[in-house]
């Protein structure tokens, strides 16, 4: 049976002056599923979302959303999408309720529908007590919730969420995850971007890893984990042995080297036989191993393997400034 894709993007390119920000992005999101666009700061996530949500014109490439051609029918696209950008897009002076009702009308709902939906969403997002206050007085978490509520006012079948949990405290973060799960449960198709590997792992049906304006890997979380082997072997080299030498012995196989803690981690590709080989090689070189453990690979490992650099959490903190 042919799959039903809600979002199809082919060869998206975008440059700012000489800076090539997107170098040909291909994406497909099946209807009723979540695709996570996972990548570090500056990878091109926001640029991609802006193009898909009609805010930015791509230099090249084709996009179809819910059957509408992005280039030829932008208004059609706008009528089926909801966008929650990286920074809350709310009117500071209006109250939460006024914001919702205004956006409802601009989404072309009838006055009655806009009112009804606003109340439902205020309730749903735990904003009913603050509904009559200016948004200026809202906390970061409340703003995010209101922002998301606004993008849902017309119950759009396709939702874009650009880093929906960046800058949220852990409790709000979990609440946001619950909402996102409910949304797909209720039939929406979601494209979300994130720098958090655990978030993509937890929420997404499919993950597209993006770095430097290119999709460098795509698949389910499990498929991506296969990239780094089924399991990861972590070896602690004994104090008495030469760590540099140990590193040479496993030559190129090490995913991660931590000389301070004398740790070597290696992707296990050949099962027990592989493990035996490594240990034999080390023994032959006269290197003593203090500790040995096997780990299920995380997306962190995938990321490291694919990009050659760690997905730094420090970048995230920098983004938090409003």
């Amino acid at each position: 049976m042919p799959k039903n894709y809600a979002i199809v993007a082919k060869g998206l390119k975008k440059s700012y002056k000489k800076l090539e920000v997107l170098k040909g992005i291909d994406l497909r999101v099946e209807q009723g599923t979540i695709l996570a666009l996972l990548g570090p700061n500056g990878a091109g996530k926001t640029t991609t979302v802006k193009i898909l949500s009609t805010l930015l014109a791509a230099d090249d490439g084709q996009v179809t959303i819910h059957g509408y051609d992005l280039h030829k029918e932008p208004d059609g696209v706008r009528s089926v999408i909801g966008l929650t950008g990286q920074y809350a897009a709310v009117d500071e002076y209006l109250t939460g309720r006024e914001n919702l009702e205004m956006m409802g009308r601009l989404y072309r709902l009838s006055q009655a529908d806009a009112k009804r939906r606003s109340e439902e969403l205020l309730q749903q997002f735990d904003l009913i007590d603050a509904a009559g206050r200016s948004v200026k007085t809202y906390s970061g978490g409340m703003r995010r919730r209101l922002d998301l509520a606004i993008s849902l006012i017309a119950a759009p079948p396709i939702i874009f969420l650009d880093e929906p949990t960046t800058g949220l405290d852990p409790r709000s973060r979990i609440a946001m995850w619950e909402i996102i799960k409910q949304l797909v449960g209720a039939g929406a198709t979601i494209l979300l971007t994130t720098q958090y590997l655990d978030e993509a792992d937890l929420l997404a049906d499919k993950i597209a890893v993006i770095d430097g304006g290119k999709v460098i890997a795509e698949g389910t979380a499990d498929e991506l984990k296969q990239h780094v082997g089924n399991e990861r072997l972590e070896l602690t080299i004994a104090k008495g042995s030469n760590f540099q030498k140990a590193q040479k012995v496993v030559d190129g196989e090490a995913l991660q080297v931590d000389s301070k803690r004398r740790l070597l981690s290696i992707a296990m590709t050949g099962g027990v036989k592989h493990l035996q080989e490594i240990l034999n090689k080390l023994q032959a070189a006269g290197i003593e191993v203090d500790g040995l453990s096997l780990h299920k690979p995380t997306l962190d490992d995938v990321f490291l393997q694919l990009t050659g650099h760690q997905a730094t959490k420090d970048d995230v903190a920098e983004e938090d400034k409003k």
Partner: protein
């Protein structure tokens, strides 16, 4: 209930003609900008307090020192202050537009199936409302400190008409400023240095004849002076000459250029 609230595609938009939506979108955004006047202390003060202060200060500080011939200073002054306040009031659009463009909210509007340039209309029209309120307050204060107009109802109507047309023109000019500016602070600074010379190098507070010849040449021929002279003539019966027509022509000319230019800049700015 949760399930139903979030159910995708559970709600349908209304069906209307394109023209209906132009008006509907504009009206929604005009209401938004009007709400800003009430909700922001800044704006409320500039709408109500500033005109009162200006009127009283000029009346009592300069009142004795400036010779305005047969017309009393307060009678001379009112037209000038009305136009100056209208000009400053109209720069609120620049701030509002710059604010919207620099914050994420413009992206929200642009991701909706709406006419997003209605954002500009919202700011411009709310300037008209704001300036009408300020004008009425100023005239009441002026009457209390000795202003004695001899305008008949038709002339009063024309005064408001010219003021609104002038405000409309300056507001669209401000919209362009708001679209071009890189920051909200730059807008504040720029509207200050644009409006101050235009309103002070005019016949707003002193007769142009008393100025240095070079300045006088500028003051007598710039649009603000024509607008002030037309309003002054209508209010207190000074000779109107061609000022009325020239003021209206200037305003219409500015509007004819600024509306398409602002709309074009808006589109360009938002599709980078």
């Amino acid at each position: 209930m949760a399930e139903q609230t979030l159910q995708a595609g559970s709600i349908q938009p209304e069906k209307h003609s394109a023209a209906y939506w132009v008006f509907s979108d504009s009206w929604v955004l005009i209401k938004r900008s009007l709400t800003h006047i009430i909700k922001s202390l800044d704006q409320l003060l500039s709408v109500v307090l500033q005109p009162i202060m200006f009127m009283l200060l000029f009346r009592y500080v300069f009142g004795g020192a400036i010779d305005t011939g047969p017309t009393s200073y307060v009678n001379f002054l009112v037209a000038g202050i009305l136009v100056q306040t209208a000009a400053f009031g109209a720069t609120t659009t620049a701030l509002g537009v710059a604010n919207d463009m620099q914050r994420g909210i413009i992206d929200r509007f642009r991701s909706l199936p709406m006419l997003s340039s209605a954002v500009l209309t919202g700011h411009v029209v709310s300037d008209l409302v704001r300036n009408t309120i300020s004008t009425i307050i100023m005239i009441l204060v002026a009457l209390a400190v000795g202003f004695s107009p001899n305008a008949d109802p038709l002339e009063w109507l024309m005064v408001f008409g010219i003021l609104l047309l002038f405000t409309f023109a300056i507001s669209w000019l401000s919209a362009i400023l708001g679209l071009l500016a890189k920051s909200v602070e730059a807008v504040q600074w720029f509207s200050f240095i644009a409006i101050f010379p235009l309103t002070f190098a005019s016949s707003a507070f002193v007769p142009a004849e008393t100025m240095h010849p070079v300045l006088r040449g500028f003051a007598e021929n710039q649009p603000v002076t024509h607008t002030i002279e037309a309003i002054r003539a209508l209010l207190v019966g000074t000779p109107i000459g061609n000022h009325g027509w020239i003021a209206i022509a200037w305003a219409l000319g500015i509007i004819a250029i600024t509306i398409p230019l602002a709309t074009w800049l808006f589109r360009r700015h938002t599709t980078r």
